[in-house]
């Protein structure tokens, strides 16, 4: 579903971020990406939603290849992905509900279908009662739930999360992680970059560890000690 084949990524200004990375993520999988700062976690995620293109090698996501995808192909692909970040990326002047419906409006979802989908997504993340709150009226954990609701509202097959708990306290972190597990249990693949090793150890999900742009450990690889 995600396939990185011999991917090298070089940024013009800072040099090589990934070198010769080959990685496969299957349907419905839950994968942790770990490793020190600057290891290349975010770069792998950006390549996965084709925000960045590989310098060499190929990235293929759900049949869309970095080698051939047009900008329109990328847009269409992202409608089937959910993406969340450490900093939530909500629109400050819109309510929780409006932030979620925004994702549907801008891809041309028929107006009549929007309220139902939005209500379902907000319920799924446990925020139905705060639908009319503005981001600044919500806690960090709640804001991240709004962002996740926005990511889920289109029924994605893959959720990409770049340190989604990076700005949250322990309690909120547990809550968000629990939510991601539920989402995964319902069939959506999740790839999550994190520094939180406690979280990684608390579950037996696949873990891929990066260092200096290379995969140094993959719990799914043959011979990996568990």
């Amino acid at each position: 579903m995600i396939r990185l084949t011999h991917v090298t990524k070089t940024y013009a200004r800072s040099g090589t971020a990934l070198s010769d990375v080959t990685l496969r993520v299957g349907k419905g999988e839950f994968v942790f990406l770990t490793g020190p700062s600057g290891a290349g976690k975010s770069t792998i995620l950006k390549l996965s939603y084709l925000e960045e293109m590989p310098t060499s090698g190929e990235v293929k996501v759900s049949g869309v290849s970095s080698a051939t995808a047009s900008r329109n192909d990328v847009a269409k692909l992202r409608r089937k992905l959910g993406i969340v970040f450490q900093d939530f990326r909500l629109l400050e002047n819109r309510t929780a509900e409006q932030n979620v419906s925004f994702a549907l409006e801008v891809i041309g979802t028929p107006k009549a279908n929007i309220p139902n989908k939005v209500a379902r997504a907000l319920t799924q993340v446990g925020l139905a009662s705060k639908a009319n709150a503005l981001p600044r009226e919500l806690s960090g954990g709640e804001q991240q739930r709004v962002a996740i609701a926005r990511a889920l509202v289109n029924d994605p097959f893959l959720l990409i999360a770049d340190e989604p708990t990076g700005n949250l306290d322990e309690r909120a972190t547990r809550g968000i992680f629990q939510l991601l597990r539920e989402i995964n249990a319902a069939g959506t693949a999740v790839v999550m970059a994190t520094h939180n090793l406690e979280l990684v150890r608390s579950s037996d999900f696949r873990t891929v560890e990066l260092d200096h742009g290379k995969i140094v450990f993959d719990s799914a690889a043959e011979g990996a000690a568990s």
Binding site: R78, L81, R89, V106, I107
Partner: protein, 283 residues
């Protein structure tokens, strides 16, 4: 749909700046319009003058009317020629007397040569055609001299060509300025919405969808600027007419519409370049 709402919000966000943009577009097109007006009026004057462009081939004294008439029929057959009229010696004298009125005595015993007066068809009144016909008429044995106001025809055409070239050059540079200004203001609108745009791209909005409100905004400003420019040009013309007692012609209706559409086009091009560049910065 929501594109219009976005435009409304953008316009409200910076009303002074937006008014400035519209005014600048208007002034760019106004300069263009004034120039166009000069060109239109030169053209109108030229048309009037051109109608009078005439070639006159004078016959040697004492030539019979018959060969002159035969030559005139032949000339009438040239593709450029609208009419070729024979003026006999007597007719020439009569015409001169009539035109000169009280001085007609001067011609009591005088002599005026017979001639063939030629008018050319519209579209064949340029210096080259006139000269070509004149040269051919020189070919007739009896023709003594051919006159066709060579000097001033060439002058008029040169004037028109200068007006045309200057108009195009000036128009293009103003259009360039207008595009840059629109691009800059759209860029500010884009910056104000950069976060929104990045989220749109994240959730899979197409470039076309993201561009639409900006193109609309550019088009709207361009339309307004174009209409303002037309109004300004019109009032400029009216005051010239009023204060200089100079009879002028305004643009035909289709050119007025074309001018407003040109404003809209400038707006769309300017904003399209601007938003396109922004979107290309990230893949």
């Amino acid at each position: 749909m929501s594109a219009w709402r976005d435009v409304g919000r953008d316009l409200r966000r910076a009303p002074v700046l937006n008014m400035l943009t519209v005014t600048t577009i208007a002034f760019s097109l106004f300069a263009f319009g004034l120039f166009g007006l000069v060109a239109v009026n030169i053209r109108a004057a030229l048309l009037k003058v051109e109608e009078r462009v005439e070639i006159r081939a004078f016959a040697t004294e004492g030539t019979d009317v018959a060969p002159i008439a035969a030559a005139a029929r032949q000339v009438q057959g040239y593709p450029e020629v609208m009419s070729a009229t024979v003026v006999t010696e007597q007719q020439a004298l009569a015409r001169a007397r009539q035109e000169l009125g009280e001085f007609s005595d001067v011609f009591e015993e005088g002599f005026l040569p017979a001639s063939i007066d030629v008018r050319l068809k519209e579209g064949h009144r340029d210096p080259a055609s006139v000269k070509a016909v004149a040269t051919r008429m020189h070919g007739f044995d009896f023709v003594d001299d051919v006159r066709f106001g060579e000097e001033w025809i060439t002058q008029l055409y040169r004037l028109r060509n200068i007006a045309f070239v200057a108009g195009v050059a000036l128009g293009l540079s103003f259009a360039g300025v207008a595009v840059i200004i629109i691009g800059a203001t759209i860029r500010m609108a884009i910056m104000a919405r950069a976060r929104e745009i990045s989220i749109m791209r994240l959730v899979g909005a197409t470039d076309g969808y993201i561009k639409r409100p900006f193109l609309l905004e550019g088009m709207l400003k361009g339309l307004l600027g174009g209409m303002l420019a037309i109004a300004m040009t019109y009032f400029a013309m009216k005051s010239i007419e009023h204060y200089l007692h100079f009879e002028t012609v305004f643009f035909e209706r289709r050119f007025v519409i074309l001018g407003v559409l040109a404003g809209a086009l400038l707006g769309v091009v300017g904003s399209s370049l601007s938003v396109g560049r922004h979107l290309r910065q990230a893949i």
